[in-house]
């Protein structure tokens, strides 16, 4: 029996069928539909820095007047999702319009990313969060890849580290992060209080977001859309049927809870996605906003509580959630900082949802992009897929307890 994978060269009927089955936000529909329409196209071929700088110069020229110079372009590592290049821009960008040298980062998609998202949304949310929590200043976006080989955005380079420099890398993409006893307390307090600030951005600010569909208190419509987003990704990308994932997806749709407070949800809130100053222990930037949407704060809390982001304390007594605090303290600190309550039953629902998301990304999309050679980090994506079974077991246990 030979097997022809319908997901490698999807027909128009396949693409349309999945779209109809899982309705999602219009901007995300645009992005995922584009992904499927390009699926049968070429994989990733190594790009040279001069090629990227050339596109970058075209993007900058289309946005600013006056002369400018791009220099010191260099690859950045970290993460498997996007291609990143740091560079310096000499331009008339000073507050008084004078000449200055600004370090910046280009963040560009590969042909198909392990997390397929919208640069328009990422650009808009970074602009919105400026002044709420530390984020890089955001400059320009090329959302269709008109100037660069693929869609991209440019933001300011922020100093800081994602993990203590003395800690050897043991895993990919910041998993297995251990800050050590002193730093974890300093960073943990800031992480939770700033997460509270993200979740309490005023309604009038949220209402101004152009590329995000609104969520409403007393409705579960935004939650169902979020479930549909990840059911759609799983359906489009998976290597094979996993009955547990299908059962979980159906359960999530049937049991979507209503929202009691509309929040900006970061979507990938965890220690590895904040930069900090190693000298004073201050958070310098929240990164990776590509999964942000308008929804329920419990999703971010549940995401940060995934088993893979935990570890035991030095004395072996406490399991540290997110690498920060024991669970009770972790949730209490969040509640104190945000003024918002954590509902344990709703948290359990979101623990199933974030596990489903994570497996869809790692086991579903991670498989697909590596199989089709679509990224600059295929070997990382294939390796990362192996994290999925432990997360699937966490999802299964939560379902067993609450379903």
């Amino acid at each position: 029996m030979s097997f022809v994978d319908p997901r490698n060269q999807p027909s128009a009927a396949f693409i349309e069928g999945v779209r109809r089955r899982f309705p999602i936000e219009p901007e995300m529909d645009r992005v995922l539909t584009r992904k499927m329409q390009h699926r049968a196209g070429p994989g990733y071929s190594p790009l040279s820095l001069p090629t990227i700088v050339e596109g970058l110069q075209r993007l900058i020229a289309s946005n600013i007047g006056g002369s400018f110079t791009v220099s010191n372009a260099r690859w950045l590592t970290g993460g498997a999702s996007k291609i990143q290049v740091a560079f310096d821009l000499e331009w008339n960008g000073a507050a008084d319009g004078g000449r200055c040298l600004t370090p910046m980062v280009l963040r560009m998609e590969p042909p198909e990313s392990v997390v397929e998202t919208s640069r328009l949304r990422e650009f808009e949310i970074l602009k919105t969060m400026s002044g709420v929590v530390p984020v890089p200043p955001c400059y320009w976006v090329d959302h269709e890849g008109a100037f660069l080989p693929y869609p991209a955005l440019v933001y300011g380079f922020v100093t800081g580290v994602a993990k203590p420099t003395k800690q050897a890398s043991t895993q990919v993409t910041g998993i297995g992060l251990n800050y050590g006893p002193d730093l974890r307390v300093k960073l943990g307090h800031q992480f939770l209080s700033q997460l509270g600030r993200i979740h309490t951005v005023p309604a009038n600010v949220i209402g101004g977001l152009q590329h995000f569909s609104p969520a409403m208190v007393g409705s579960n419509e935004a939650v169902v859309r979020q479930v549909n987003w990840w059911r759609r990704v799983w359906e489009e990308d998976r290597a094979e049927e996993e009955p547990l994932m299908t059962a979980a997806g159906n359960w999530l749709t049937r049991n979507a809870p209503v929202i009691d407070h509309v929040s900006i949800v970061h979507g990938d809130a965890r220690g590895g996605n904040v930069l900090f100053n190693e000298e004073n222990g201050q958070i310098t930037a929240w990164l990776d906003w590509e999964l942000a949407y308008l929804g329920d704060r419990h999703q971010d809390i549940a995401w940060s509580m995934i088993n893979a982001f935990r570890h035991m304390s030095e004395n072996g007594r406490d399991e540290l959630i997110g690498g920060f605090f024991p669970e009770t303290q972790y949730l209490e600190l969040y509640e104190q900082g945000s003024g918002l309550k954590i509902d344990r039953k709703r948290l359990a629902y979101y623990q199933v949802l974030v596990s489903f998301m994570s497996v869809s990304i790692c086991l579903g999309t991670g498989y697909r992009v590596a199989r089709n050679g679509k990224t600059h980090q295929d070997v990382v994506c294939a390796w990362l897929s192996m994290i999925s079974y432990g997360i699937m077991e966490q999802m299964r246990q939560t379902l067993e307890e609450y379903a």
């Binding site: 059962a247 980090q377 070997v379 390796w383 999925s388 299964r396």
Partner: protein, 168 residues
């Protein structure tokens, strides 16, 4: 046959470790990380290669057991599951089925189980179906965790049976 696959993998891993990796520019962090993962991936593949056929047969056995329980418990299940279930049993009994063929039969059976879940999602049997899938899902997650244990992602390795014990 010389060279066998194990020898080829062993030689490639040694070449990468002894000669290629030390020659990589340490400032090229992506190259350093990808080279390390390449060696780790090849080492894991070498370790798992002798178990691939047993894994395929075990995976099919688990899918068959799940389908049989669904057919016994859910009145509507037999209509979609009977044919792929029969094909699954036949594949296990026929030594001519190679690993790819066994995988294909398992895939078809799991597709049928998935269709049963979707078709029943608003019906009277969904709770019973989900209970079976969730309980039996433990066997699948145990197998996946055991198979991928060399990745180092497992936070509690002692809680997972060894792959050899699961496939014995």
């Amino acid at each position: 046959m010389v060279p066998d696959i194990d020898l080829q993998l062993q030689a490639v891993i040694k070449a990468l470790t002894d000669t290629v990796m030390p020659a990589i520019d340490p400032a090229n962090k992506m190259a350093v990380e990808q080279a390390g993962l390449a060696v780790a991936t090849l080492s894991m593949a070498r370790n798992r290669l002798p178990l691939v056929r047993r894994l395929a047969r075990h995976g099919l056995q688990m899918a068959i057991a799940m389908a049989e329980e669904l057919v016994a418990a859910i009145p509507t299940a037999a209509a979609g599951l009977a044919a792929p279930l029969a094909a699954g049993r036949e594949a296990l009994q026929d030594p001519a089925h190679d690993t790819a063929a066994i995988d294909a039969v398992q895939r078809a059976l799991n597709d049928a189980i998935g269709a049963l879940i979707d078709d029943s999602s608003n019906g009277p049997h969904i709770a019973a179906i989900e209970a079976i899938i969730i309980r039996r899902g433990k066997l699948a997650t145990d197998l996946g965790r055991a198979w991928t244990m060399p990745s180092g992602f497992e936070p509690n390795p002692a809680s997972v049976p060894t792959i050899e014990s699961l496939l014995s």
